[in-house]
Symmetry: none
Subunit: 198 residues, 4 copies
């Protein structure tokens, strides 16, 4: 297949990443063997290694993909409505998380949690997570600023701190949803609404 490259190459990488994501969402990074990924991708060992140099590179690609997918859709959501209150922002975020988690092809939030654990002793993953999360949190800084301008939120607090808290609610949502299983966008939003000033 001499002249298929570029789009073909990208498509194959996507194919492999998709296969790997499915495996990783089911079994985690470490229980997922290259043989699993190879089987799931429908390619041969040699072919997979033609697109990725190592398992670590595939793991990094999945993590990047999983964290990016969250950020990508966030960007538009947060940019959309003009007067985006903290509560509305969190609601949108959490609904989006629940939505992508239910998509076919492996729960992205499970991959995300794997990435958290991996980031602790894998610098490549840590760099990816760090970059994506900083970006994501940046959106909440903007939300905080608007709320301060509205007078809804104390104007003297560093909006970064407020963003830490708003962004910080998301991991807790993901985790409770997967491990305790009794948290939904509705309950979480209602809980936050009760805490915030009416």
């Amino acid at each position: 297949m001499p002249k298929v490259s570029d789009e073909h190459r990208l498509a194959r990488r996507q194919q492999i990443v998709a296969a790997a994501r499915t495996c990783v969402a089911e079994q985690g990074f470490h229980k997922t063997t290259m043989a699993d990924v190879i089987r799931a991708s429908g390619l041969s060992a040699g072919a997979v290694y033609g697109y990725f140099k190592s398992k670590d590179e595939i793991v990094a690609a999945i993590a990047d993909d999983a964290l990016s997918s969250v950020d990508r859709l966030f960007e538009e959501i947060l940019a959309r409505e003009e007067p985006l209150t903290p509560l509305a922002a969190l609601e949108a975020a959490v609904e989006h998380v629940a939505f992508v988690a239910g998509q076919a092809g492996g729960d992205v939030t499970k991959v995300g949690i794997q990435a958290w654990a991996e980031a602790l002793h894998n610098d490549a993953i840590k760099a990816i997570a760090s970059e994506k999360y900083r970006m994501l949190r940046g959106h909440f800084v903007e939300v905080a600023r608007r709320a301060q301008a509205d007078g809804t939120v104390d104007p003297d607090t560093d909006p970064e701190y407020i963003a830490q808290v708003l962004f910080g609610l998301i991991p807790g949502f993901i985790l409770q949803r997967l491990i305790l299983g009794d948290v939904t966008p509705q309950t979480y939003t209602a809980g936050l609404a009760a805490l915030l000033p009416r």
Copy 2:
């Protein structure tokens, strides 16, 4: 002999769990080999297997230990002061987390994150995490009830939902602290204070 044996047995188990925790905090569950644990514990392979049937059992013991340690101290903190506001509860929680993370013998919060990831495909760990977190979140239900009694928080919202949000802030704190490195109990508490009604 049973008495001595029992204490001895427990002490040995603690010794092994402590050794394992150090390894796991540094390298994660999967990069930690039994040889690492055996070396760190100062025992022999045979001895370690005399106290734990398998690596999985040790992993479960570490996870239990890590999650319990958080809960144990929480219990007293939350029981202590009478009029514990949501903000004060979160502050205490987060300060405690930062404190235990700095203790010698391996950062417990790192082990905790490993446990989150592991829980997704290891039922024993999931059961432990589930139990501990349900307990932990229960304390926040009580906090929510008090705040509703005070009139600080909307009395018509299910206090469980409010607890989901308050408890849900903690994973976000742990994660940002370790991966982004710019979050402290002070910034986090300030951020939350700004959002809550003055």
Copy 3:
């Protein structure tokens, strides 16, 4: 078409052998991969396999080429001067070896040593080496005969035995030159001169 094809075919084979020789001189037969040879030759995998059926065939071609190149030039050297003494023959041989070793395109003596090792368990290579070396040693038989006619060397000894010794000095020169690095045509010739009758 057969004529153009034939020259073309030979030129391509030479191109591949030259590329392979460079790789083999640097890394040895076994560390040299077909991918290396393909890259160095500037051809495609398919093209290379159009000219050689297998890696083994390429290896045999390199070995043949390396051993032939030594022999080819030997033939003329030994045929040139009329009264060629054993010392002069060895000197010419050793100087020629040092010269071809320094040529661009991969040290032929390194390829030669590889061929020795390979000959031990590869019958094709063994046959090539055997043939070339028998030829090469044949020249020294002639030298021995002349020296016996001169009275310089004992006439009762089988000239084949004398040739074994004269020819046998060359591998030792190649080896010491590459591994110990302190042997030159001058030192080696001087050493032999000291041993032979004045």
Copy 4:
């Protein structure tokens, strides 16, 4: 087997090296797989890797062993007879080589040739070969010095150069013996005798 170490450890290493030597003499360094060595040694994979960190380390051990065995016996041979002429030294050397080559457990000279090839692109092997050969050649320097004292050999030539030539005859003997198959200690010694002054 808790308390067998030291002699046991050395014995096991020898056992592995012996097994590996047999394989390598038959098939060469590269065609010999770890599975071959493991099978031949009668141990398990894990056991072999308990004694050697890698295949390279085993290869180095075989090379060391093969080259040492030659040197070890040389030392005594050359030290034995008082007035050791160059011819007698070469004869002893070559007879010893033919003897060890015939020993059971893998032809050491074949391993030696493999080591020559390997030394060209493996620094560990090169270092071993370099050391052993320098030692070995050192013995011939002594032989040269004695011959110069006797007046048998030109006293103005650096004895190192003479040693290069005497030592340099050995690889040629080994090679012709294995590849051409028509050289024996007797023919080689006779050939040299014919060349040297009567």
